[in-house]
């Protein structure tokens, strides 16, 4: 089978969903053909196929974009709204948190809000403080939102299809550094169910729970440590909220040790919630404290060596694992 990049994978998933269901449409800044098919080209070629009504290039109006997606969703359509960069969700949090997430509940189930908000971010591209944050914890903290992020192209295709199918709002986070990753194309109709984690690598000494780009680091570290006789199990959550508690707890009950890892800053991050939950539910099987790794608690710096120092390093992951298994 042919290889595809994550960009192509997302494009194919959206294309396929649009072909199958007339209610699926995209809106966002620069997404149209006239504007070049999206800043990261995810919607390239779709205007030519589906027209400007279904690939709506919008003004720079994040609140109006997400608000329109909410309105269209409660009217029975399946909008895919693009927020160019994740930091800009700060501009439209009202629509996401007060409306998209809550309309199903507050209406007693009458107005479900099936929309996807695609957004992109990532540390390591030199964008500086206002264009690099991973803000998944903001959304994970609000009942009613699915928060999804793929770590590879095949999952991107499957998770995007599942997100469009979902009858609830989904925040879909694409890491800029992952767009070029390639996988074997899983082909049309491929879906990765929301809320199901992947055991990216099996292991027996410690569970390393992560998602998004840091899955790559986790796998690399696991490979290296394997050679030293430390067997690391890598869990790729794929859906950050609500996450696959069953897979996580089963893994930790098996290995007896856990480390959470994410690019978002460590304090109040999703890793803290997962760690606390493991502590409560796997206490009897734990051989030591659950550890956490996250980004530095500062804005993401610009200078490349500072930015690299900000991100959790492979050395830090190795160090924490070794400390956990008593090999430091």
């Amino acid at each position: 089978m042919a290889e595809i990049t994550m960009t192509e994978a997302l494009n194919k998933a959206i294309d396929e969903a649009m072909a199958e269901d007339e209610g699926v449409f995209c809106l966002g800044e620069d997404v149209g053909a006239k504007q070049g098919g999206g800043v990261f080209k995810v919607t390239a070629g779709l205007t030519e196929k589906y027209g400007e009504h279904r690939i709506r290039a919008t003004p720079i109006s994040e609140t109006a974009i997400v608000g329109a997606a909410v309105g269209a969703a409660i009217a029975g359509q399946r909008p895919i709204a693009e927020i160019m960069l994740m930091n800009f969700v700060a501009v439209c949090m009202d629509q996401i948190v007060n409306h998209a997430a809550k309309l199903r509940f507050m209406s007693g189930g009458q107005t479900p809000c099936p929309l996807v908000i695609r957004t992109t971010t990532g540390v390591g591209v030199g964008f500086g403080g206002q264009h690099s944050d991973m803000l998944e914890a903001w959304f994970a903290h609000v009942a009613g939102l699915h928060v999804v992020t793929p770590s590879n192209a095949a999952d991107a295709r499957g998770l995007m299809r599942a997100s469009i199918d979902a009858n609830d709002p989904v925040i879909f986070i694409e890491n800029i550094l992952c767009y070029g990753l390639t996988s074997e194309d899983p082909g049309p109709g491929y879906r990765v169910p929301l809320g199901k984690a992947a055991v990216a690598k099996e292991g027996s000494d410690i569970s390393l729970i992560t998602y998004g780009r840091t899955v790559l680091d986790a796998l690399e570290v696991a490979g290296e440590l394997g050679k030293e006789g430390v067997s690391v199990e890598v869990i790729d959550l794929r859906t950050i909220a609500p996450y696959d508690e069953e897979t996580v707890l089963a893994s930790v009950n098996k290995t007896g040790r856990a480390l959470t890892l994410h690019e978002a800053v460590r304090p109040f991050g999703t890793g803290a919630e997962i760690a606390a939950n493991i502590q409560e539910k796997c206490w009897d099987n734990l051989k030591g404290p659950v550890r956490r790794i996250g980004g530095t608690f500062s804005a993401v710096p610009f200078a490349s060596h500072l930015e690299q120092a900000w991100i959790p390093t492979k050395e830090e992951i190795v160090g924490q694992i070794k400390a956990s298994v008593g090999k430091d």
Binding site: E22, G23, F25, H53, R54, R56, T58, P59, S61, T63, A64, V66, G67, A68, A69, V70, G71, A72, A73, I74, A75, G76, Q77, P79, D94, Q95, N98, H99, L103, R104, F105, M106, S107, G108, G109, Q110, T111, P112, A143, G144, H146, A166, N167, D168, P242
Partner: protein, 322 residues
């Protein structure tokens, strides 16, 4: 403007009185201490919402605010369900999980009632966008206050609606106050509708206390929207005759102005128009009596209704999938 025909006048009168009697009843219950919930009075604004709802078709969508009693009852939410929701009962439109500030009843077309000022305006665009996409011929009307005209979402939504020629009507009920702040203390444009021009949109300001102005203005906006000619900003000048919410202080509202505005009270004015159109006092009174009886029964039903199951807090967070 064309004369409003007798049937339509009767329709508007009935809806107006339904709004007014519901408002009176709510305040009575609050005053008697029979219920204790947030309620945003609509005294003085009854005609605006009634006339606007009378200009819509049943299938049309409405987005309103916490002060949406007028739109909700005038659009036709079954009043037992409406009272049930306001009293937090299982029989309410939203099983008691929405409440006075978050009433939803898609069957009636009441799609969103929001407590966040101005946030319904972009959502209305989305409802209209869906109609434009699937050609269902629906118009969406969104109601909001003069205060909301200063929030970013208003401006973003105006621009987007005009850009896409969405079938939407923006109805600004200029009741001269945003909580405690008078219009002149929050806005220096002479009125809200002038802002439409900044977006290339049609904007009109009308006397919301005069049925012969408010109904034709909304009707024309609805017709334009349905014909694919795009949105209109209709500003209805009216007056909030009570405090911001029931029981709140309104010492900041100058007495003289209140008295002046009471002379503009839409209800006696509407009654006068009705009499001019050969409706009799008896006929008009009978309509009110019927409405009162209906409300009385609905309130009793809601008071007697069961509370929602505690389990409801776990439901409707996500789609239930088994």
């Amino acid at each position: 403007m064309a004369e409003i025909d007798r049937d339509k006048l009767l329709d508007i009168y009935t809806r107006t009185m339904k709004v007014n009697r519901t408002d009176e009843k709510f305040r009575e219950l609050l005053m008697q201490g029979k219920v204790a919930v947030m309620y945003y009075c609509v005294r003085g604004q009854e005609l605006v919402s009634a006339a606007a709802m009378a200009a819509l078709e049943p299938k049309d969508y409405v987005v309103c605010t916490y002060r949406g009693q007028g739109e909700q009852t005038a659009k036709g939410i079954p009043i037992e369900k409406w009272w049930g929701e306001c009293l937090g009962k299982a029989t309410g439109t939203c099983k008691g999980k929405g409440g006075t500030m978050h009433i939803t009843d898609p069957e009636t077309g009441i799609m969103v009632t929001t407590g966040v000022v101005g946030s319904g305006i972009p959502i209305a665009n989305g409802l209209a966008m869906a109609s434009q996409n699937n050609g269902d011929g629906r118009v969406t009307l969104v109601s909001f206050g003069d205060g909301a005209a200063n929030i970013g979402s208003f401006h973003e939504a105006m621009n987007m609606a005009q850009l896409y020629k969405l079938p939407v009507v923006f109805l600004c009920q200029n009741n001269r106050y945003g909580e405690h702040t008078a219009y002149a203390d929050h806005t220096d444009s002479p009125n809200v509708a002038v802002r439409a021009a900044g977006y290339g949109m049609k904007g009109v300001t009308v006397d919301g206390n005069d049925v012969n102005q408010i109904y034709p203005a909304v009707k024309e906006a609805v017709d334009r929207a349905r014909a694919g000619e795009g949105p209109t900003l209709v500003e209805a000048m009216c007056y909030r005759m009570m405090g911001h919410f029931f029981g709140s202080d309104f010492s900041y509202m100058p007495k003289e102005h209140l008295e002046e505005m009471q002379r503009e009270d839409p209800l006696p004015k509407l009654r006068k128009v009705m009499l001019e159109h050969q409706f009799t006092e008896e006929e008009l009174d009978r309509i009110v009596e019927e409405i009162d009886a209906e409300i009385e029964a609905a309130v009793q039903h809601a008071l007697d209704a069961p509370l929602p199951d505690t389990d409801e807090i776990y439901k409707d967070v996500f789609e239930e999938v088994n």
